[in-house]
Subunit: 140 residues, 2 copies
DNA sequence: CTTGATCCTCTAGTCACTGGAGGATGTAGC
DNA sequence: GCTACATCCTCCAGTGACTAGAGGATCAAG
């Protein structure tokens, strides 16, 4: 288990050094061990956790949602009911996101393909995300 | 085409009033007409545009990406080459997002289902977003 | 043993909102 | 017409999630 410096973790994950320290501050990433000279030392697991955080943020999940998902992962043997409520909520959030991305995808794809043989007649990216979802659940 | 107040638009879209004004400030939403008493008046199209912005933000697209998508929609008869470059870039971003969401979805789903008959053995939400994508494209 | 990269903490700036103060305007009931 | 209360306006300050820089210590190569 050789120790990994914060800079190496940053290169490995694509997350900037100050951001890694920030995640530690807000408690998304446990405070790592330090060397005698006070430098943070990480292991492979920290890298995996940070990669998860990065992907989840990139997918539009808020820090609070990520914290919940990480908690599920940290203590998987909690009460089923609790896990179930949290997991189900995220599941439907994820399903919504997939549905909307798929709709957007097919419209953008159509444009690319039309462009291949002639001109793009029109762009309906706006229409495609209309509102069929949206109004069902409150926002925060 | 009856005029819609900013408050009505806010209720309709779920976007808060100050946020609507903010989108106008940064040029995502064109400045609407005003009444004699200086109040903003919107139409159905504004609502659709705002809904698009909301969904896109919720899916993790940055304002700049949304601006590009809206521009495609505003001037669809531009040079094919230009549309193609932009649309293709967004298409692969969208595909990445869908792939990662799908992976996350199946893991969260597994947890819900395991919870239904017994205990959740373990949670692998972190592992599932490992890194198979991620390192391919720089981040900003 | 110097030089340059990397680390530390701390503070301040950015992006995308969000909320509040202070004041004008619209609308519903008397 | 008059009061009451919601809604609008502008402007400015605060929040969440980073991001960058100052000032200084430490490490690793030559």
């Amino acid at each position: 288990m050789h120790a990994i410096s914060i800079g190496a973790v940053s290169r490995e994950t694509g997350i900037k050094v100050p951001t890694i320290r920030y995640y530690e501050d807000i408690g998304l990433l446990p405070a790592p061990d330090r060397t005698e000279s006070n430098r943070r030392t990480y292991d492979a697991q920290s890298i995996q956790r940070l990669r998860f955080i990065r992907h989840a943020r990139d997918l539009g999940f808020e820090v609070e949602a990520i914290r919940q998902l990480l908690d599920l992962s940290d203590q998987p043997d909690r009460s089923c009911a609790e896990v179930d409520v949290i997991a189900r909520a995220h599941l439907s959030e994820i399903d919504d996101k997939i549905a909307r991305l798929t709709a957007l995808r097919s419209e953008v794809k159509r444009m690319v393909e039309e462009g291949e043989h002639g001109r793009v007649a029109q762009c309906r990216v706006i229409e495609v995300l209309g509102d069929h979802a949206g109004c069902l659940h409150e926002r925060h």
